[in-house]
């Protein structure tokens, strides 16, 4: 398995290099090649997860290693899909390195064998995991678009750095794409949480158990809800929306990692 993982890392790494060269050289061919490499990596990645699913008999997201592999897979998948629709090539310079880091992290974390229980074999659990990771990937990309927005906005406001001004897309476009990611991410997050509640009801007999992970998920959800509300009602856009997207993603990361490492809860077993 680790050899397949190695191939994926190599492809993502080359893709990341391609996107970073594109940022500097601005040659069309760079991002085309990088996109191709990333697609190839994604195909291998999908095959790896499919194979594990088949081998274990349950969706492979039960320990930290598997979770990271799935997180990286969702990130690449969402990026490839969005990139296919929109001309947001420059976001690759954020998405490709991020995916590479996630997979390298997965590579470094040993895959602890988890005793399979009937608990794992629920369709609701698979749905919950896949949808939550799609949400996290979208929100990670929203954070990326927000960061790029902040860099570009700073370049225009301060009138100093022409390097980024020339290379990055327009503010309106970044703002609109970031919004699109937030809407996608928030919708999936909502559905993911609902499937989680249903699964909890099936396994533990209650929808909500004041678990730390549940509380932090709700906090994250509320941050994004506030962001969307602000945008729709009082027209929060631009810089403020970009900063909110970054803060929201920070909360999300804490929910994902922080809760498991610092606090305790019933997701513990899945991320050790």
């Amino acid at each position: 398995m680790s050899s397949l993982l190695f191939v994926i890392i190599l492809l993502y790494l080359l893709s990341a290099a391609g996107y970073i060269i594109f940022l500097f050289a601005q040659k069309e061919v760079c991002h085309r090649v990088a996109y191709g490499l990333m697609t190839a990596g994604f195909v291998v990645h999908t095959a790896l997860i499919g194979f594990e699913f088949y081998r274990l008999g349950y969706f492979p997201a039960q320990n930290l290693h598997q979770t990271l592999v799935v997180a990286g897979w969702a990130l690449t998948g969402v990026f490839l899909l969005i990139k296919y629709r929109y001309r947001l090539n420059i976001l690759g310079a954020y998405a490709a390195p991020l995916a590479t880091i996630v997979i390298i992290a997965a590579f470094c974390v040993p895959s602890v064998a988890v005793a399979p229980t009937p608990m794992f074999k629920s369709l609701w659990l698979v749905l919950h995991i896949v949808i939550i990771f799609i949400a996290e990937a979208s929100l990670a990309l929203a954070c990326g678009a927000g960061l790029i927005y902040l860099v570009q906005e700073n370049a225009i406001k301060t009138k100093s750095s022409r390097f980024f001004l020339k290379r990055l897309p327009s503010l309106e476009f970044l703002d609109r794409t970031g919004y699109l990611f937030i809407v996608t991410g928030f919708t999936s997050l909502t559905i993911g949480l609902i499937t989680g509640f249903i699964y909890a009801q099936l396994v533990w007999g209650k929808f909500w158990s004041w678990d730390n992970k549940e509380i932090w998920s709700m906090i994250t959800w509320l941050i994004y809800a506030a962001l969307l509300h602000g945008r729709l009602v009082s027209g929060w856009r631009g810089r403020r929306a970009a900063i909110m997207a970054v803060i929201g993603f920070a909360a999300l990361l804490f929910t994902f990692f922080g809760v498991n490492f610092l606090l305790e809860g019933h997701h513990d077993a899945f991320t050790k």
């Binding site: 406001k157 009138k159 327009s170 503010l171 027209g235 810089r239």
Partner: protein
């Protein structure tokens, strides 16, 4: 005689690189050698150009001539067999017509001949000699000047070839280097920035406050880069605003309506003569709320400034004044200068190619080429004949070969004599070029 000097300050009768190539001469003034007052005085109108070319055609020393006159340069390009006489003719014509003292003109004029002249023409065409390197107008002006000369038949074989080569070189420079890229004018820079704020300029509203050449140019560029755009014009004199709005199919508004307009406008270009700010921060803040924080871009072309620079601190509002735009342009100009190194290489290649063609027009190489061509044909035919006649002895064969040699010699005798001296007042180069084409000597 030594009224004019070449680049090194030597009298121009010296320093001729080759006997024939130096027939091509360019003399003139440009923005580097002459101040604008002198250039203005020297500039040729269309009628003056025609009159001058007609006069030059009559001068026996001048074979071909054309005149390029723009706001940055006045140049005469000519082909002459008697350079000093030709230059005297031209300079006395100019000093007389334009009433400029020779002593005043002399230090500003440059004279290039031979490959230096060819290089100069190619560099001018490729916009490498322009005040603003890479500016696109010069090529059009050169084409226009060439057309005028061609219509009057004052150019011939050499200048026609030279100019066509100059045009193709300029095109190559433009497509292969980034010399024409990036905005180098205020109005272009403003459009470039607007495109970094707004995803598309379609359907955006521009508010023009005041009037002025630069502001109107910016509006023109903005309108040209979109499919549809609303224009509002606010002017202290309402009738002026109406007239300006009419020109761009916009609508005139009163100055008092500006605060209200801030809610709908996206790009505001201001260039009034007002000593105080026309738009203050307190006007923009509430407007941002009602426009739901959609970005607002202020372009302040006025000196003293019209837009309170503090507005730039308001989220989603961006203010660029004339100095900021200059900063944008300065960097682009530096980029162009870097690209011009690549362009110079392309130009030098073209000079070499043109020189090769030009030198092939000499009599001796042409006759040698002709002899070689006929020699090759006869050798091939003799070989075939010998194969069909196996009974021939070595002596017989040598006799045939000698006969072939003398056929070539006799056949080429008259053409060679004609090419060496086609007669008085006839352009040798034309016949040489024709001969080369007739016998297909340049495959």
């Amino acid at each position: 005689m030594t009224l004019l000097q070449n680049d090194n300050g030597d009298p121009m009768i010296l320093a001729e690189p080759g006997p024939d190539l130096s027939d091509i001469v360019v003399l003139g003034v440009n923005h580097k050698t002459a101040a604008v007052e002198l250039r203005e005085k020297l500039a040729f109108s269309a009628e003056e150009t025609e009159a001058a070319l007609k006069l030059f055609q009559k001068a026996p020393s001048i074979r071909e001539a054309m005149i390029l006159s723009t706001c940055n340069r006045v140049e005469v390009l000519l082909v002459t067999k008697n350079k000093s006489l030709a230059i005297d003719t031209i300079s006395s014509f100019i000093t007389e017509k334009k009433a400029i003292a020779p002593a005043h003109l002399k230090p500003c004029v440059y004279v290039h001949s031979g490959s230096q002249a060819i290089l100069h023409v190619f560099r001018v065409a490729a916009s490498l000699d322009s005040m603003m390197i890479g500016e696109p107008q010069i090529l059009g002006q050169l084409k226009e000047a060439f057309k005028t000369a061609v219509t009057l038949k004052s150019t011939g074989l050499i200048l026609n070839r030279l100019l066509h080569k100059a045009f193709s070189t300029a095109k190559r420079v433009r497509t292969e280097t980034g010399i024409g890229g990036h905005a180098v004018s205020i109005s272009y820079a403003a459009v470039e920035l607007a495109k970094k704020i707004f995803d598309t300029l379609d359907g955006k509203t521009i508010l023009l406050i005041g009037a002025g050449e630069m502001a109107e140019l910016a509006v023109e560029h903005l309108i040209r880069s979109t499919a549809s755009m609303n224009l509002l014009v606010a002017n202290r004199t309402f009738s002026v605003g109406v007239a300006l709005a009419g020109r761009f199919r916009g609508r005139a508004i009163h100055l008092e309506e500006i605060p209200e307009t801030l809610k709908t406008a996206d790009i505001i270009i201001s260039s009034t003569g007002s000593p105080a700010y026309v738009i203050s921060k307190d006007q923009v803040k509430p407007a941002m709320r009602s426009r739901k924080h959609r970005p607002l871009f202020f372009i302040d072309i006025a000196v003293p400034r019209d837009i309170d620079p503090d507005i730039n601190r308001i989220p989603n509002a961006y203010v660029y004044d004339i100095d900021d735009l200059q900063g944008v342009i300065r960097e682009n100009i530096e980029n162009r200068n870097a690209e011009s190194i690549k362009a110079e290489r392309i130009v030098e290649e073209s000079v070499i190619k043109f020189t090769e063609w030009y030198q092939s027009l000499d009599v001796v190489p042409t006759i040698i080429d002709l002899r070689e061509k006929l020699g090759a044909i006869l050798t091939a035919e003799l070989a075939k004949t010998f194969q069909a006649l196996p009974l021939l002895t070595e002596t017989d064969r040598q006799a045939f070969e000698r006969m072939a040699e003398s056929v070539i010699k006799k056949a080429l005798h008259d053409p060679a004599r004609f090419l060496k001296n086609p007669g008085a007042h006839r352009n040798k180069a034309v016949y040489l070029d024709f001969t080369r084409k007739l016998f297909h000597l340049d495959p």
